[in-house]
């Protein structure tokens, strides 16, 4: 992991990921399962590349749950992402 690069791109990642989590929450609220799967896939694909493995794991959880329309698991994953977002933004 290129720590120097990760540090440099930290703020960009936090800002963009917060937007994605917001979009995910919106898609969940309107029961847009395709939209949920799409955003979750993007979250899963990017998080770990920036050193935030838990974000990728949660994104994968939501993506997998969306494929079977398991809204309970989708909601759980979303809560995890929202908690992460709140905590990371508190420390900024």
């Amino acid at each position: 992991m290129d720590q120097e690069l990760i540090t440099e791109l930290h703020d960009i990642f936090i800002e963009e990921m917060s937007k994605r989590i917001g979009q995910l929450a919106h898609n969940v609220s309107i029961k847009d399962i395709d939209g949920v799967q799409f955003i979750a896939h993007k979250i899963h694909g990017a998080g770990g590349t920036y050193g935030f493995h838990e974000v990728s794991d949660l994104g994968k959880t939501v993506e997998t749950a969306a494929k079977t329309s398991d809204w309970d698991q989708v909601q759980l994953g979303l809560c995890g992402l929202q908690t992460w977002s709140q905590q990371i933004n508190k420390t900024e």
């Binding site: 690069l5 960009i12 896939h41 694909g45 990017a46 770990g48 050193g51 994968k60 993506e63």
Partner: protein
């Protein structure tokens, strides 16, 4: 300086892959999601390797949405572009996906996202570029 074509639609991945390739790989990097431009660049012999995201959501070819597997198939069908090595990238991680995507597309390699081993990724790209250059010289 070797020239990498990055085909990716995710803003975060475009940023980090470009910076990794430029700074750690010392590559020239061009980004495009437009299949016409991708094909044209590869035909121009200016591209040494393509990093191809499978899940593209804005790319259209001849009026239809197209993904990275389909773009790779186009490149591999064309004698003018088939020798350009392609690394597929995706967060799809179901068992068997990798082999299926490689077999269907004709791509040379596959990297699973998220890319957590940055150094390994750059070394893989370097190795494939060098190998391709020596095969074609």
């Amino acid at each position: 300086m070797a020239h990498i074509l990055l085909v990716e639609d995710d803003k975060l991945n475009i940023i980090i892959f470009t910076k990794l390739l430029e700074r750690r790989g010392k590559f020239q990097v061009t980004h495009s999601e437009d299949p016409e431009i991708i094909i044209e660049l590869c035909r121009s012999k200016k591209i040494d390797l393509v990093i191809m995201d499978i899940s593209l959501n804005k790319s259209k070819y001849q009026g239809k949405f197209i993904d990275g597997v389909e773009i790779t198939k186009l490149l591999k069908k064309d004698p003018a572009t088939l020798s350009v090595p392609v690394i597929l990238t995706t967060a799809h991680a179901m068992s068997g996906d990798k082999e299926e995507f490689l077999a269907e597309s004709g791509a040379e390699a596959y990297v699973t996202k998220p890319v957590t081993d940055h150094e390994g990724f750059i070394e893989q790209v370097k190795s494939m570029v060098i190998s391709n250059k020596s095969q074609n010289s």
